[in-house]
Amino acid sequence: MATTATASVDNTIEVPGRRADLVTGNQTYGSITDMVCRIAEEKTPAFWYPAFGASSLVALMFVSLIGYLILVGVGIWGNMNPVFWAWPIVNFVFWVGIGHAGTLISAILYLFRQNWRTSINRAAEAMTIFAVVCAGIFPGIHVGRAWLAFWLTPYPSLNLWMWPQFRSPLLWDVFAVGTYASVSLVFWYMGMIPDLATFRDRAKTKYRRMIYGILSLGWTGSSRHWMRYEKAYMLLAALAAPLVLSVHTVVSFDFAVSQLPGWHTTIFPPYFVAGAIFSGFAMVVTLLVPVRAIFKIEHLITLRHLENMNKIILATGSLVGLAYGTEFFIAWYSQNQYEGFAFINRAFGPYWWAYWTMVTCNVISPQLFWFKKIRTSPFLMVVVSIFVNIGMWFERFVITITSLSRDFLPSSWGYYQPTWVDGLMLFGSFGVFFTLFLLFCRFLPIVAMSEVKGILAIQNHEKHGHGDHGSHH
């Protein structure tokens, strides 16, 4: 019998030659459908309204601050000479980095036939898109005259007959993030169609049926539909995989093509990508641990799923640590006095506190995941993941602020300090993020039911005397 009892089963024990269960509690296709649909069909849980109210208020504050910014100008920020790129860019890179986990889980792990991705990919992809939304806002308002942001689109302006500067990585960013956002959105939505059709078929009210009916694009579940769907999914996964790498690569170019010490180094592209995956997974863990407890889907998002994500956090965190070390070493090895100074200044200059926060949170805290106790304890892994995200925000702060505030000419040095608007805008972007995520949890299938059922089929197949068969995917 299928159980939905909350006591989670330990499926983290590895027996070589036998694949551990990824769906626990003797589920059936029906019980999986019930478990996931229930979340959107039952009465709105009590916690949802206050949570949604609070986060949408914060989001509203963010929108008001943008209004204030447009009315008054960027002077309300702490941006100054020489730190022209300050918190808006830090926040942009932070959010766009978080937006890497979803598509990595759904595309790259798909290509690697990692079946454990199926329970977590939907929520992770949703989170990705919301993070990219938050990211997109910051460069848009950072240009100062936000109403002219459309100049970034490649067309010759009507009055001046001028094109955007194609040699600028900032423009590449527009393309990279834009492509990534649109492909991720299509990938997310397309993956959801079979599940939306399930919602449609179970809908009890006319409006529900109509809305989910429109969204599911006439899906009938015929084998022809499935064939087309699988083909499209595979193609999109293959297209999305290089995009996961390209976005943060181009973001790193924003910094690395310049000649500024601390920015101009060749390890930046892979190092930024590793950092992005690192922070993205940390955000997925931070969100999914409470989500699986609140909505009682521990049998779908099991400890094994969480443990695997924590291992990826450990691996990418160590990679980031290796990159920090390499940068520091080459700064000395190059014997370039500016490069050397930039790194000494980071660690021991006026922003030493930011640097050591970064190192502690990003390099040391994920090492705790060497201990199985910690990487399988939901509470502790959330603590570590939050530290990781704090660390990754500080990483972007360290890179952006320390390098700009003290460059080649001591006479032009300055000490950057954020204003209250900077702080509230960062806080406000979390409001936007959580508002969108709460809406997602309430109205859309938060677990990819159809894919989890595919895993269940493999799992049952293996159990019934065909133990030697591997994953069929």
């Binding site: 070589p16 694949r19 000649q259 101009h264 930046f268 592209p269 080459i330 090895y333 190059s334 370039n336």
Partner: protein, 394 residues
Amino acid sequence: MPAVLVAVGAVCLLLSVGLCFLNTHEGNRAEGVQFFMHSYLTNYMYCLSFGLGALFFVLVQFLCRAGWSASVRRLAEIMASTLPLMAILFLPIIVMVLMTNSVSLYEWNTDKPEGLIAAKKGFLNGPFFAVRSLVYFLVFIGSAYFVYSNSRRQDESGDAKITLKIQAFSGPLIMLYALAISFASFDWVMSIDADWYSTIFGVIIFAGSMLAFFSLLAISCMLLQRNGKLVKYVTVENYHDIAKFMFGFVMFWAYVSFSQYLLYWYGDIPEETIWYQIRINTDNGWPYIAVILLFCHFVIPFLGLLSRHVRRHRTGLFFWACWLLIAHWIDLSFLILPNAGPVESMFLVGHLLGFIGMVSIFLAMLLLKSINVPLVAVRDPRVPEALSYHNIIV
């Protein structure tokens, strides 16, 4: 057979020395020595890269509990176990650095370094270089030995716990590996131009090594199957997956190489562009090699391996694997040789002979290591999975 190969290798290497010595520009011996040392390092790094790639592959397979590769992993373990023998071939370089003040390979290897190199003396000096090289080899050889010996023990006992034991250690070993290969790349290859630096350099060497390893793996499986070995153990699905990794690393190599190029070209700082200056901004032939690399190491194999039919086609895959092995050699030559100064035509013959020599010796090592060894980790609990999975739902 191994003895013959070693003999052939030794003769070729000697001929290579000879050619470099005799055909020097206006009797300038130093030029010949300089070229030979760079050529030796190129060919050495080429053969070493198979072992390095194989070692990483094996460690990652255990770390990720991979099932698909269980049937071909032993071949990788054997390739990684050539590392101790390869270490012997590094001795000439160590001897040169410790015993002489020859700057024919490493310009920092002198008593009176000047300018920036003098400031790096604390790091770039003979004894410290030798100690570091020893540490790198200890890491590589130790990891390879640990995995291989345990895996062989499993051949006899079939104990599944051994898999878990290797898995437990593979995480820390990979961290050591990452540090070792980064710094080994800096020391052994990057420091031939002691002024120049690039933080991504280790990743570039790593990317090439992985590509070379996967190509060699595909070719080894095919040759063994043709000779009646491994017939039931390597399926078209395994080949397909190996080919996917080749395709992936073709892109990854292009990604990291282009990242370095773009950032230095864009920054346009003389200390950094000097490396490209002698490679793509001169009239000595290297610019052509740069273009050949762009097409033969990326564009053409990218298009070639794009198709699933090619990746699953025996002859098609064999062709691209051979292609990439050649491309990898050109890549390493491009990374190392331009620093050797002007290239005489006879030098190139010497370089090619050195290549044949080094590869022969490497093949001899490979054969020695695979004598009387099961070519499949038959009792690995994950072998059944490797033999029964499918890439395509039929």
